[in-house]
Symmetry: C2
Subunit: 313 residues, 2 copies
């Protein structure tokens, strides 16, 4: 593996609760990386520039190093609003719609989110489009279904490098609020990590995938199973996770008229393991793209689009 060269661009994923910055060389290799909890929630509106400069300074970035940013920093509550690009939209069009942050010494661009503006099926994403771009650049032409699990899971249809449609499922957030705030918290307790090979996860996932009954029919059964059948906390957590993930996949199959087949799974770690298992149960074959690799690759591609990768600063 070749040694990373001089930084050509700083690439940042700036979300609600955290900021991640990478210095990338002209080939897209990571030269340096920093993580901070200075997400939108903790950043004062007029301090985004200061926060970024401090991170870049700590990494030894030059004063003229350009920056590409994706994530909630481009939202209305962020640094500078990067208005949604409207679907259907090509990757090139998304790149081209990046917004320049005014009044800064260095070039700083923020990637726009995507919006599906159909009256019946409105939807938005912000941040995931960059991971998508990073993964998509490496896929061939034709139709691809991309699954990006998370707090708000995104399923995206890509045809010849154009995003033709997408659908959000609040799966991660549903797991969060139900396990912590609802009656199910009495069944689940505090241990919410779920292993993908846990039988309760797989069983409840299978059920959700194969039963015509919708998720509402199953939710309270977790509570009843605790009271009547001695369901233990770790299995209750696994049951809820399997139920919600299985229900998401069943809904995605219907939404995109899928019957198994290949899916590109952009995920890492425990999330990847859970979705890999669930997608397998649903009859999908998975092509994995690491979530962090995808966002960095996407930011690098946008930097290339803006001519930032031709030399190092």
């Amino acid at each position: 593996m070749s040694k990373a060269g001089k930084p050509a661009v700083a690439a940042a994923d700036w979300g609600t609760t955290r900021l991640r910055v990478w210095l990338l060389d002209a080939a897209g290799n990571v030269v340096a990386e920093r993580r901070s909890d200075e997400g939108l929630l903790s950043a004062q509106p007029d301090r985004f520039g200061d926060i970024l400069e401090r991170q870049l300074g700590e990494m030894g970035a030059s004063a003229s190093l350009p920056v590409i940013i994706c994530g909630m920093a481009g939202s209305r509550q962020g640094w500078v609003e990067a208005p949604y690009a409207t679907v259907p939209v090509s990757l090139a069009e998304i790149f081209g719609a990046a917004v320049s942050v005014p009044w800064t010494k260095r070039d700083i661009f923020i990637v726009p989110g995507l919006a599906q503006r159909d009256a019946a099926t409105p939807d938005v994403m912000r941040g995931e489009e960059t991971q998508l771009a990073g993964a998509a650049a490496r896929l061939g032409a034709g139709r691809h279904l991309v699954c990006m699990p998370g707090t708000h899971s995104k399923w995206v249809e890509l045809i010849d490098k154009t995003v033709t449609g997408f659908q959000t499922f609040m799966t991660g957030e549903l797991f969060s609020v139900l396990s912590a705030q609802s009656i199910l918290s009495h069944s689940i307790g505090t241990e919410t990590k779920v292993a993908a090979d846990r039988p309760a996860f797989l069983d409840w996932c299978k059920n959700a995938l194969s039963s015509p009954a919708p998720v509402e029919t199953f939710l309270f059964r977790i509570r009843a199973a605790t009271l009547l059948h001695g369901l233990q906390p770790a299995d209750a957590a696994a049951a809820l996770s399997g139920l919600l993930i299985g229900s998401e996949i069943a809904a995605a199959k219907a939404r995109f008229a899928l019957d198994g087949g290949p899916v590109v799974l952009i995920a890492s770690g425990a999330m990847h393991a859970l979705y890999e298992a669930a997608l397998g149960l649903a009859g999908f074959t998975i092509e994995t793209v690491d979530a962090d690799d995808a966002v960095r690759a996407g930011l690098a591609d946008i930097a290339r689009h803006f001519g930032m990768m031709e030399g190092a600063a």
Copy 2:
């Protein structure tokens, strides 16, 4: 209307957050009523007796007036556990399974909840069985579908005064946690009261009833509609309510193989209005039973079963 006579029994609905006590005469008329926030959450385990006696004292009840209690006071975390009666179970069997509170000067009985112990479809209720009894005594023989909306809505199949099966839907709780704790709180804000004639409520309800797509497909659209289509907070609340109630009814239709027809709706106030509208959209004709009337009538029937209504104390 005849004047209420001497108290024959004290009837209490003792839940998690509140206690309601009625003094009923031998005909079941309300002689006196008190409400207090001394639900399970605020009651010390050894203080249930004291709390009840104070309420009864305030109402001028005699020292020998018997008491029938329903609700969470009979749960494991309550006063005395009244173990679940297992479905299928007749109303008479439910009454007969009421548990006597030991070491009290007056006769005090707590009504058991119901459990459906099937491995695949476990479910429980506690408190609703008494409302059901109160409504059921007035229905004819044959099959009845009973809908009891709430934090955890219950749909119950009653055949010839026997509960043959039931299904819980966490509709009220889902509305609560999603509107207060999830991203949808940014769309909904603090005003969560929904009027049953609000177009957003009816539209989202209709959609949920008629679309094969499950509820997960629709949830985030409320957020997207706020961002893209200017959906206002009151309409966002109505949308979530219509979506969840419509989804519950669609799920109940599938669970009990219903296609419209008559439904007994045990509800009051705003909840009644919302479900009446939604059930109407779903093709049901509704027989209304006021929720408070139902619980009182149920407690009175159980008192009669124990011979408490033959004279006044």
